[in-house]
Subunit: 210 residues, 6 copies
């Protein structure tokens, strides 16, 4: 419904924007916090990221001004997102993106939207989580999980026993409920750290698993 | 920051979701409205879409149950988005996406997010418009334009002379202000028609210009 | 419960406000957009307005700086509000006012509030639509229609299949649902064009059908 | 822009609505609270209303199930709205309507919208207060007054010294600030009593001072 | 989970804040309104406060610049909070605090939070009303009462017959419904007068009934 | 202004509520997650809590079903709240309470409200943070810090460079900005875990440092 000529972008506009909107992988946050020397553990972890992902996610570089903070972040992240759980890794990433969409967090939507595309093998699912998870045609279990996570994000003061009851009715155990809450909570934290510091995602995420 | 094994998606989950979240290009809306015979004008327009885009955008098929409605929609759309204006085509598409992001309209974000990527030649710009336009590092002119469009979308009752004054200070003429308002208004209309009918975008948009 | 003496308005206040709050039928919007010559079609349409209504609605004069825009607006308006539909003309005007009340759009509330008074022969119904449609004692059909239109206006991202199901349960066909969405969408557009440009209603509306 | 034929209202719809939306001056609230015998003071006050206004406002009849409550309400209302103050009676009524518009209180909008029309001799001013006071072209003093009253209504937790400073800059004394707050507060009370009980205005208000 | 050393507060910070955050019982509001001579009735009432409470509540001193306003306030307050009613005094105070918590009114939360602690003999109940009444494990009757009062405070335009029906189902009479509405309405008034004037509570409330 | 007789609480109401609203120090969350054996590190940490505080905070018991989660939480908490920082411990606790007040989190308001009272030696300051931090008369530095933390909590998508600039103008370094964001983010996480699981605070907090 649109004939978008390649030349529509005026040279003026292009120049004004050049190198500006694109994530350039050099300036990671708006704060000047020089990196500390990596501890042996964290050096090994960064090397593993390079090996497995091909890059170190910018959030890790952002925390690398202080090894205690970086280690605490990595420990909590890896436990929540990668350790055994009644929630699949994809489900945990879906929560991450639905929460980040409510909070309109650019960094987390780019990075975890890519994770949903990759883990699901279903690229439009990533877009749906970013744009409006309610428009996705999800199994009841996943819908209940995301409804809880987003209500907890938007209006946590209204969450009560009947919300937990709905999760149990959808097949979640008490441990699963903890995990849904903990993942939703975690992204309510990282979303805010990212927005507060204008954290920019690695540019490679944009094209991943499209 | 994550080792996403390809097998993370359980077979169970995959089955439950198969053919569900993906846009399948057959069911366009949740309403059963059989298409009317295309008028000669509209037949020609659909043919032109096929020729130039390779497909007919689903929104046109959704309106095709009634030729008067389809023609009126096409006339207004083409005037607003493609006719000469002080706003570039890219700027008009940026308004479309920023408005649709506020309204969390899946159809319009997919279709017009693709247009921003294509017209700008800057795929991350499309993601920024979808996720949070305030995180984009935009020229002042474009930022003022989007601030006006989104305020008009979110809290139109607060728009006053000082909002128009800000646009004038950013270099917009009175005619440009009309066009910003008209494009923002138009997507506040189509966003709602799309959400009300659960309109699904052509699946081809997802990969366009990535 | 109040003795309002005629002289309560101080001369000072009266002077400061004179010719200011009242709609004066000369300045139609805050934008300087000189009218274009009317096309023959539009000249005929304006003449018909004068004949039937006694005046040309200001929204038409506001669009008259560009014949393409004016024609597109008129075509869409007349199809939506006046063409055959499962919704009565009054029902369509009730949607117009309930949507405009959510958006607090002065122009549309004045003009379409008058239409509700006229079409219903029930002046308080016009006030109820302007003030709070939930306080009106409406037939279930009309209440369901307005609930859908206002939810679509206020929180379109929450509209789902169960909202359409409620309309079907109230007797609306799929075509009717389209029309409710299209009318609600249309006023979400025109409300914004009116607020963005500070459009002022013809003063004659205020007294109509009281 | 609209040919509203008198016969647009289907007989069916008319029947369903007959005697329903119109205020009928018999059922005043949704609560069954039989009137108590009027005390001599209150009997005299009701008689004065009949004499001066031609009717007893329904809010007084609603409180008349208990003479202590009725007397307390009348004492506070008459002091706030009619006693000497740095605010004119019209200004106090404008606050009443702008507050009631935020709260979408049908009773108070009908009754006090009529008072604004009457006291100002400017019927569109009444409509502006009901629909969106920001669209009125008010003297700075009145605009500052209404901005304070509506912020206090909508987000009282944000009111701080700089808000009071804005009132002082617009010429209001500390006593005037008290009166603005007290009138805005009072209508935040009565709006809620009216909505909680579905209080209906006397039908005569609708046509007053049009 | 925290070792809070007594010396954590830097001298600098302490000095900057000294005599500032603490309520000092001398400056009652931000408005300079010199007290009027107490009328005999009000002098007797103040003396009774001193005798029974040990102090005169600051809200009374705030109103004491005008005997008519003070008397009207006292008459309405005493009728609503202390006169016979189907609601216990504790229930009325619980409404006061839940409403004031929504409105985040410092004065009313301090003064009426103390009243809930005292009347209930259950100090955590006072904190629950201040912090989030939904976290309290209340009898159904009290929960229904507070849900109604808070909905009426937050979104009064949505209150309808089904809300009243829920109160009736919880055992409330029509007179009780009036009283719930009137108490909730009253604190929506006083909350706003207190916030508008930066009213400060008597410091003695903080320690009462802990 | 209030005669609160000790007997106002009816026996019926007292019984219905007995042992219900009070925090009873046995049921910590609504989830059944049996505690795991404490690791040596965590056993030592719990012992230190007992020694220094006289009790183990319930949040630690809530996490104790899994030693990895408990350790990660403790590591992050202790770094954020107790390690050296440009923010005093009191300032970090003030952020904790202001964020928790926005989110209306009962657990965190009780536990960290007590910490503010203790660290400041100014009990009303604790109440102000819980009720409305804007009503506190704070040094500019602390006000800027809380404004940033609460905006980040309420509308993180609006946080931009000018918000960071305001912190810098108030004397905060880039490292301080990180710490403000990290503490605000952390409580946005724990608030949600607490609300999602109905976590109850140790009853001892209520009386601490009053």
């Amino acid at each position: 419904m649109a004939k978008h000529p390649k030349k529509a972008l005026s040279k003026h506009a292009k120049k004004a924007r050049a190198g500006a909107t694109a994530d350039d992988d050099t300036t990671i946050t708006a704060l000047k916090l020089p990196p500390a020397p990596l501890s042996p553990d964290m050096a090994a972890y960064f090397a593993k990221c390079e090996e497995k992902l091909g890059f170190v996610p910018n959030v890790l570089k952002a925390y690398a001004f202080d090894m205690t903070k970086l280690s605490a972040f990595v420990a909590m992240y890896n436990d929540l997102m990668l350790a055994p759980s009644g929630l699949s890794k994809l489900e945990r990433e879906m929560i991450a993106v639905a929460v980040s969409a409510h909070n309109r967090c650019y960094y987390c939507l780019v990075a975890h939207g890519a994770a949903v595309r990759q883990l699901s093998g279903d690229p439009p699912l990533g877009d749906l989580m970013v744009m409006n998870y309610r428009a996705a045609r999800l199994p009841k279990r996943e819908r209940a999980m995301l409804d809880f996570a987003v209500k907890l994000t938007a209006e946590q003061w209204l969450v009560e026993e009947e919300d937990r009851a709905r999760l149990r009715a959808a097949g979640f155990s008490d441990r699963d409920i903890w995990d849904i809450a903990a993942v939703a909570g975690f992204f309510n934290m990282t979303n805010r750290v990212a927005s507060a510091t204008d954290m920019r995602p690695n540019s490679v995420y944009h094209q991943q698993s499209r």
